[in-house]
Symmetry: C2
Subunit: 410 residues, 2 copies
């Protein structure tokens, strides 16, 4: 085999962290140790910014045990950024990677990070600098095109499922309306994961509102009222990105100061949406016990709730990234696909950056119930194998009724 | 041994559910099966209300495997209530328990539920009805007098610790100010548990605000600013119950409609406090990236985050409750105490209801740092053995720096 096209590689992480993004980092770093031609694996702190700032570490000097421990630790071990490089930024990147003789750049991130890889890739070609640019997928939003699903999503989905399992039982204990607001600016996958918490007929979540369907208050009130009448309680999963028929997010109408990040994404954080919907239910429907939670950063960073399937796949995505970089004569993104067959398995392909950079994948129609406020069995079948092993088992009492006192109505 | 004073017993659950309240239920029900004299174990749905409503089930007919599964399931399997019985309510209770020949009443709950047991106990004595009344401790707030700690608290504390572990790593990835608001109306134990997430020098949480110390915005701003200057980021744990020097909760000044439950407790829920503090930091200190989460119901109901120590102790509290009911000739509460010795172990005593009914235990001074915005090592030593086994291990990179390009400042 001929000498590989690069001897030094650089890894960085971009966008919102996940529970398994470090698995991909470890996958790249440890896979590189199997390749004799690769002399150095550098890591840049806080994404592309760490390259420009020369905030670099030598991952080759990290012990294997350290990398294995880091792989199991949530959030980005190399730090992250939401910087979007322009041409000047790219030239700064090239100055640094050229000085260090770096021949391949691996960026672990979502659709904005894929766009960063595309920008750097195109700028490198234009500058005639031989830099192999590889995007490694990661996002709890599960909104990367081409992919069946993305590393980080299954673990966040598991958190959401476990949260709604508990919220449903808690609400059954003290009945009322419960509204849980879940991350997902444009794609409803993570909110839809709440459906996996339903462990008995009539149990919650009873309603699931996704950004893929227009949200309007009268329908919401009607749906909540119907469930309260039927079950005496109502568990609602709401995406932070729900929007009206004109596409205006409900949350933006509540926020006085709208923040945008460098990629133009509106920040929808804070507890306002849950509080607003809760108050609306109280005021309009008159139900007394209405509670709302905003899952916020807990759902993407909680330590100790990763899906083992997700961990293995994120690791494999990193390993495959290095293999593709060596085998392929082009830049691209590692994409995850579901193998045909009765039992679940994933495979990995190498996809042109243009197919996913800066684009958003939405929940397909076959995953959304006709009501617009629930998911389908197809979605449950899609998600079930991703959540991993050891999910909590919910057990309820069999409830053998005791007869009322003779003469009393029960 | 003479025939026991009662042949039929009744169990119910009160107040906010926990991750292990069903362990105590299973403890009572399964321990009762060892006593030949006990002919029936009934459960009332939704606490004392279930007695009045004759919403009773026969727990003796539940399979052992079902009860074991229920024990591992969070939230109150029998449902809960916040009803506080008056004299008329008590007479309704006696009518039902008399008709069923019930001789002992076990109520699993916090200080309000202990007060309910006291009320029922006194009313039974006044009515000359021979009802043995036993309170079994439970509360995530850890605010029951006499007890070293209370079942439910260790599991909620574990959730809070794991949440802040992840939040700290997430914030290190994308630095800024993070504010996590934790439950605990009057007692800061659960908020203080955030301290267990600190896994490196300079790591978060950097500030912990408890209801036991007056909160004022200028000190808060000064503390946050100091940490931002020192670490470039700041993780803050805030109790929902923080109050100013006059004792007025900060949250109540933010809530237009103050709700009170039957026990006179003000409801402090919603995301307003986190949003308010976050906005105040942004506006006053000018830091751009400020995020806030309100842990809300997640921290008390999340499925799959129980402390195994907590599970065992909650089970033991239920078993001991039955044993005390048989052995003692008085009503009372099972209390948990820490055995002297180098390694942690708990023991159980039987305490008069008056000593804890309706009373609130606060964080002792030796658990609160002199700064008023942190805990002491004594608190960490107190909490560490309660969190149980298998806590997430946080591993960071060793970070072997790469030298800057010759001539460049780094």
């Amino acid at each position: 085999m001929s000498r590989s096209k690069f001897q030094k590689i650089l890894v960085a992480q971009g966008g919102g962290p996940t529970a398994v993004i470090n698995q991909s980092l470890a996958g790249i770093a440890l896979e590189a140790r199997k390749v004799p031609d690769i002399e150095a694996v550098y890591g840049a702190f806080h994404g592309v910014r760490g390259i420009v700032n020369q905030d670099l570490i030598d991952l080759g000097k990290e012990k294997k045990e350290t990398l294995e421990g880091v792989a199991e630790t949530p959030a980005a071990a190399l730090g992250s950024t939401r910087d979007k490089p322009d041409q000047a930024y790219c030239q700064e990147i090239f100055r640094v990677v050229r000085a260090h003789g770096i021949g391949a750049f691996f960026y672990i991130g979502g659709n904005d990070s894929a766009d960063t890889v595309r920008i750097v890739s195109e700028a490198a070609r234009a500058a005639n600098y031989p830099l192999r640019c590889i995007h490694v997928p990661k996002t709890i939003d599960n909104d990367l095109m081409v992919n069946d699903h993305t590393p980080g999503f299954p673990s966040a989905a598991r958190f959401v499922a476990q949260a709604f399992m508990g919220a449903d039982l808690d609400n059954a204990s003290l009945p009322g309306v419960y509204i849980g607001v879940v991350m997902g600016r444009h794609a409803g996958f993570l909110t839809a994961a709440a459906a996996m918490a339903k462990t008995e007929a009539g149990g919650g979540p009873h309603l699931i509102y996704l950004p893929e369907r227009p949200f309007d208050l009268p329908s919401f009130f009607r749906d909540v009222k119907a469930n309260m009448e039927r079950h005496g309680r109502c568990i609602v999963a709401v995406s932070e990105g729900i929007a009206d028929a004109k596409g205006v997010p409900v949350a933006t109408t509540l926020t006085a100061h709208i923040q945008k990040d460098a990629h133009g994404n509106v920040e929808l954080g804070g507890g306002a949406l849950a509080d607003y919907l809760g108050k609306a239910v109280k005021d309009t429907l008159g139900f007394k016990r209405v509670r709302g939670d905003t899952f916020g950063y807990l759902q993407r960073s909680f330590a100790g709730c990763a899906s083992d399937v997700d961990q293995r796949e994120a690791r494999a995505a990193g390993e495959k990234a290095l293999q593709f970089a060596l085998q392929e004569d082009r830049d691209g993104s590692v994409t995850i696909h579901r193998a045909a067959g009765a039992s679940y398995s994933a495979n990995y392909q190498f996809t042109a950056l243009e197919q996913l950079a800066g684009k958003t994948r939405h929940m397909p129609d076959e995953f959304i119930a006709a009501s617009g406020a629930d998911v389908t069995d197809a979605f449950r079948q899609y998600l079930a194998p991703l959540l991993g092993s050891g999910l909590p088992k919910i057990q309820r009492l069999q409830r053998h009724k005791v007869a009322a006192i003779a003469g009393d109505a029960q």
